[in-house]
Symmetry: C2
Subunit: 318 residues, 2 copies
């Protein structure tokens, strides 16, 4: 149940009020019963808008690329939502916000909604929070959604996996190609972009990436490698064509349904994990201090303690 104030904000949101949208996103980010009730109310409004994920290491030009893609959608009169997430630290989080200042002309466009996500406090899972913020933007009526994340660690890959199409952006001359392969990025990318392609090492990097792709087992979709110079808006048509191709492939192959099912599954599991743990912590109060003492005194290992506590937890439920 939504309380009266939230219900009023929802009404304004459904009428297209941007400030109401910003407020609802904060509610969702904060979590708790209000967030759940709100998502329940918004769920019937989700229409399956394509979600594009953009990820890659810092400094490769992701934000510039996102800007160009946003302008492309606007040229076709599509409302665009951007969720920019930086899971690495509050320091680089500041950098994302700084980048976004560049988009000021876009930010004043009523057809564009940009949200930089705070990473602190979303302990329930940044990937889930990102997905839910995108849900709010979709329910707001936006027709294109872009999720931008910095870095390519596990958290970033989890966030990217909330998208339908994942674009991995690299730049030449940074050793990115080898690192990307090591990090398993090649498996996660639906489209690979070599940005800053006016640099001399670019074509060598494209060859390295393509050679790696050719070593992979034959699959229904083979990620294309696209060269761009985002700062000059070069190569953007090819990138958009590659994204559109992938979107078509998803629809025709049935992969779209599979991906969205996986996304839903992950979200359910994420909520469940929180719930289960909150309950367990409550039940542990009786036994944890004694076991902590025992381990601190060197009389047991944390593993022995955890075994016993788990047994106690499961008995409690009986």
């Amino acid at each position: 149940m939504l309380d009266a104030k939230l219900d009023q904000t929802l009404t304004a949101f459904l009428a297209g009020d941007r400030r109401a949208a910003a407020r609802l996103i904060t509610v969702v980010e904060t979590g708790g019963p209000s967030a759940e009730a709100l998502l329940e109310a918004l769920y019937p409004r989700l229409r399956g808008v394509h979600r594009l994920g953009i990820t890659g290491p810092p400094g490769v030009g992701k934000s510039t690329l996102v800007d160009v893609l946003v302008r492309h959608h606007r040229a076709h009169d599509r409302g665009v939502g951007v969720v920019a997430v930086d899971p690495t630290s509050p320091f680089t989080g500041g950098a994302v916000l700084g980048d976004r200042v560049r988009m000021n002309d876009l930010a004043s466009d009523p057809g564009v909604f940009i949200r930089s996500m705070a990473t602190r406090g979303s302990l329930g899972g940044l990937a889930r929070a990102t997905k839910e913020v995108a849900d709010v933007l979709e329910a707001f009526g936006l027709e294109a959604l872009i999720i931008e994340t910095v870095g390519v660690g596990q958290t970033e890959m989890d966030i990217a996996s909330t998208a339908d199409t994942t674009v991995v952006v690299l730049s030449p001359e940074s050793g990115d190609a080898i690192q990307a392969m090591k990090a398993g990025l090649m498996e996660a990318a639906d489209v690979l972009v070599v940005n800053k392609s006016d640099r001399p090492a670019a074509s060598q990097m494209v060859r390295t990436l393509e050679a790696d792709l050719h070593m992979r087992p034959l699959a229904a979709w083979s990620p294309p490698v696209v060269q761009t110079i985002a700062s000059k808006a070069e190569g953007i048509d090819a990138l958009i064509a590659a994204i559109d191709d992938h979107q078509r492939h998803l629809a025709e192959s049935g992969d779209l349904g599979l991906r969205r099912r996986r996304r839903v599954r992950n979200e359910i599991l994420s909520v469940l994990r929180d719930r289960l743990w909150r309950r367990a912590e409550r039940d542990l109060d009786d036994h944890l201090p004694a076991w902590t003492d025992r381990v601190a005194a060197g009389a047991a290992t944390p593993y022995t303690a955890a075994h016993s506590l788990l047994a106690a937890l499961l008995e409690d439920e009986e």
Copy 2:
């Protein structure tokens, strides 16, 4: 129970074989029954060696500072273990390894053991893995332990919290001071370092940090702000004095016991969380697919699904 091969490696480890130590660390990082049996065998060998955590944003000179501290311990003939963790991404992870190349002369010193931690695959919690690698190094007989982490996000703070004394390193001219305050770092720091203090903005930064510290409620320990130029080994005596002061404070105030108890508690909870979830996932197999279908079809929200699944899980235990 240790298998024969691991038992042999453990014997070599206890005789001071470095390669055996490297292998045991890998076992602990990998986790599983072997890791647990190993930690059980090593636990009685922990003697409460002081653990120093060094954290701060990228580029402030943490590694150089760690090098200088390592040399200090070596000058006093103490064996030193360094665990270098970069939780941000495999890309910057590469940077940590790159930095370590500088320490080649230290790495060939038999009294120094340096381990860079891979971040991928330690989903059981990087903080726990870090703590356990430090346990192995302590059991190996090293007399000083330094845990270095890049960045100041929640993961990094969790890692830092496995140390007895946490040093937060900042550099002037980077806006670090304000970000550090926003990130709650001031609360986590036992010692604050302004490195690269030959830069003009350094003294202003020290004033800002000290002003912020003076606003805090009076506590038994007030973090000193130390200025260093790690690249010239300047200010190191003051830093070491500050660390020693804090160590003394911990012992005299009883805080050391509290911190170590908290560290143990967190490790128990981390193991327990994994166990509980692994069991839940197994039990969920029966119900999860149907709920995923329902949510994917828009007939339920992930929250409704999670509620029902939790109820089913708890019933199963009865």
